[in-house]
């Protein structure tokens, strides 16, 4: 190997390492801040070496929360989890059913249903914010889990992904199950769902992250601390004057909000990448 190509082989490592540094740095600083005392942080510049108050800060964040906001992180983790699981599982179930109907049945409103679902792509929550709020409030769903979850469970992308996948299933398999006397629902549960495992897993990763990271919607409809999700709680802790902010608690809570979706992506990276590039293209 010549000197020149050795040098050329080394360069990408420098760029990539630099990029990773830029990605990690803010999170490292947040981690350090979550192990310091409030005084350490306020006496800027804060140290860049972790302190010894980590256990104390995380215990307080989890069980009590910060002084200007009563909800402990444990409650908020529960709420975020209920919302994320409700949205992702809900989306998968109703999308599987809808895609099944659209692909395997010939019915009069088939086209109409398909296009209705398609159009939802063009109506993100940001553009129908006030009226959706009103619908939820009329239904008495403000400050409820149903209110947090239901308006978010429609997913055109999930329906499209499952539809695409269903269309590739060989006719012979369906016919064989018919000959064996299986009805449509038996076929659905016993044969189709097990075959669809991979797309379901991919969808789950993407939608869990989507659900966990929701912000605008919970900001609108949760006014009781009991129903705050982590992101809303962090926003509330940060409102008010700088001196009143207990940065170490906020930073501990921020890391708690960051870790679950990141862990999901890291564990299921392969499904996640195929899921993303399959649905959005």
């Amino acid at each position: 190997m010549t000197e020149h190509s050795k040098y050329q082989r080394f360069i990408p490592h420098i760029y990539l390492a630099l990029a990773i540094f830029i990605i990690i740095f803010p999170i490292y600083v947040v981690f350090v801040a979550s192990t310091l005392t409030s005084a350490d942080i306020l006496a800027a510049p804060m140290p860049l070496k972790p302190g010894i108050h980590g256990v104390e800060n995380y215990t307080r964040a989890l069980l009590e929360g910060s002084e200007n906001m009563g909800a402990p992180a444990l409650t908020m983790i529960k709420n975020s989890l209920i919302m994320a699981l409700g949205i992702s599982v809900g989306k998968i179930i109703i999308s599987l059913l809808a895609a099944y109907a659209i692909v395997f049945f010939d019915f009069r409103l088939r086209k109409f249903c398909f296009w209705s679902i398609f159009i939802t792509l063009m109506l993100p929550v940001q553009v129908r914010i006030m009226p959706t709020y009103k619908v939820i409030s009329d239904l008495g769903m403000l400050n409820t889990y149903a209110g947090l979850i239901l308006p978010m469970v429609v997913s055109a992308t999930a329906v499209f992904l499952f539809r695409q996948f269903f269309m590739t299933i060989p006719k012979e398999i369906v016919e064989a199950s018919q000959i064996d006397g299986a009805g449509p629902m038996t076929f659905f549960f016993k044969i189709l769902i097990p075959m669809t495992k991979t797309p379901i897993a991919a969808m789950f990763v993407i939608q869990f992250i989507f659900g966990w990271n929701q912000y605008l919607w919970p900001l609108l409809i949760t006014t009781k601390e009991k129903y705050y999700t982590l992101l809303i709680g962090i926003n509330r802790m940060l409102s008010g004057a700088d001196v009143q902010i207990e940065w170490q608690i906020v930073m501990a809570t921020t890391l708690l909000a960051l870790i679950p979706p990141v862990v999901v992506v890291m564990i299921m990276q392969k499904q996640f990448v195929t899921g993303m590039t399959d649905t959005e293209k």
Binding site: V103, F107, I129, P131, V153
Partner: protein, 294 residues
């Protein structure tokens, strides 16, 4: 399209699509219809009755310089975010796609920030740039003589939200660019190398044209992201300020509706945004059709 085997049941399919349809109509069509309907009304001074005013809300909206400012800053912000997050992601994808050691480690490390909430990205950078406690703000002040304050300085505010929004979006673009690069046939690149094309030429004459579809798709997705999904960053980091200088369209629609309770005004803004999303979606789908033929 291959036709799938079809069951003969007549009622079952309706039962199957019912849950999806209920949600679509109750939480999508009904509110969207309401937004369009309300955009033609104002609420009287006592907050009860709706008065039909025709297109007055729209006329007022488009005559309002603040709305055009919001349009302007949204566009600037979207272009900046798309530019930085796409060029950086493409550059990194090219590096990570080389046959180097640790390539899969690098890929994982560059993909996971996708999972970080937009709101959390805002908080991370807000903490670094906080004028009182932020470590970068402190460094800028004491080492470079820059008095950082994004709550007073529009340029600082715009810079900060651009950094936070781009930082978060790089991972998304990276995933797609990497997939695009991996689909470029190695034989083509080898042939070019044999013909004496250096790295630069290989990239601009062979790789770049082949990933144009990916780039175009990402451009649309990044614009949609910057226009619609960066609300949490604006809300948390600048609150639209200083003044209204970083009040992008989605922030303004929320503020006018939820904070200022201007239902008609907020509804007409919603309708304008709807038209914007529809346009972007159509552009994207027309492009995908073209790509399939090609």
């Amino acid at each position: 399209m291959v036709k799938q085997y079809e069951f003969s049941n007549k009622e079952l399919p309706y039962l199957l699509v019912l849950p999806q349809m209920i949600v679509v109509f109750v939480f999508f069509f009904w509110p969207a219809g309401q937004a369009i309907w309300q955009s033609f009304f104002i609420q009287d001074a006592f907050g009860g009755r709706l008065i039909f005013v025709g297109i007055e809300n729209y006329a007022k909206l488009f005559a309002d310089p603040a709305y055009w400012d919001s349009f302007g800053v949204s566009t600037l912000f979207a272009v900046l975010v798309a530019f930085f997050s796409m060029t950086i992601a493409l550059f990194l994808a090219v590096q990570a796609n080389k046959k180097i050691r640790l390539a899969s480690f690098y890929k994982t490390m560059l993909i996971w920030p996708y999972a970080v909430a937009t709101m959390v990205a805002g908080v991370l950078w807000l903490f670094l740039f906080n004028p009182n406690v932020g470590i970068i703000a402190w460094t800028l002040k004491h080492k470079f003589g820059v008095e950082w304050n994004h709550l007073l300085d529009t340029g600082h505010a715009l810079t900060l939200i651009t950094i936070a929004a781009s930082w978060k979006q790089i991972a998304y673009n990276f995933v797609f660019f990497l997939a695009g690069l991996q689909s470029v046939p190695a034989a083509l690149i080898e042939a070019a190398a044999i013909d004496g094309a250096d790295n630069k030429k290989q990239f601009w004459h062979i790789i770049f044209p082949l990933i144009t579809p990916t780039s175009f798709f990402l451009l649309v997705m990044n614009l949609v992201y910057a226009f619609f999904e960066t609300f949490p960053i604006i809300h948390q980091v600048t609150a639209g300020g200083p003044g209204q200088s970083t009040s992008i369209l989605v922030y303004k629609v929320w503020r006018d509706g939820v904070v200022n309770l201007d239902l008609g005004g907020s509804a007409s803004q919603s309708v304008v945004l709807m038209i914007l999303v529809i346009t972007l979606t159509i552009v994207q789908f027309r492009f995908i059709e073209r790509k399939v033929n090609y």
